[in-house]
Symmetry: C2
Subunit: 96 residues, 2 copies
């Protein structure tokens, strides 16, 4: 199981991520992605879904038309882990 | 533009849908779908997304692992329309 990040590691990871924020009252990070339209939003979600499945690490996310709100946390570890940072970075990379 | 359903038409439509409920404080219907795993959940979302795009009528939805929460409403009409009923029915049919 991935190791839960301590406060220092968590803050350091956040400085390397663009637009991701700590969720208040929860050990998780979140970001809102806005696309051109539904097609672009869901196309991105599909690419992320394939990756998430291969990592066996899945986002919590919601989609309304061209907007996708994502929250990442590692339930098994009870907090943030390197897996969340990796998935966040991949999500940003897929946006391009 | 599709016509907003009146209270009678809305209630009648609901009686023909399984597991869909009116959302409190909003003219919308909602349902929670639970699948076997993420793959099955996202596979279903993908099929729904293709249909939604072709209808030019999109759900509000959130996904956490094997669960998908869906809310349907027709923003342009300011309430529920036949489009929502049609999409809800199709979502149920795709589940099988």
């Amino acid at each position: 199981m991935p190791k839960r990040l301590g406060p220092d590691a968590r803050n350091e990871a956040l400085t390397t991520l663009t637009g991701w924020k700590l969720v208040e009252g929860r050990e998780a990070i979140a970001k809102r992605f806005v696309f051109r339209d539904f097609s672009e939003a869901f196309g991105w979600m599909t690419r992320v879904a394939l990756l998430a499945e291969s990592m066996n690490h899945h986002p919590e996310w919601s989609n309304v038309y061209r907007t996708v709100e994502v929250t990442l946390s590692t339930h098994d570890a009870g907090g943030l882990t390197e897996l969340d940072v990796k998935l966040a970075r991949a999500m940003d990379a897929i946006v391009g």
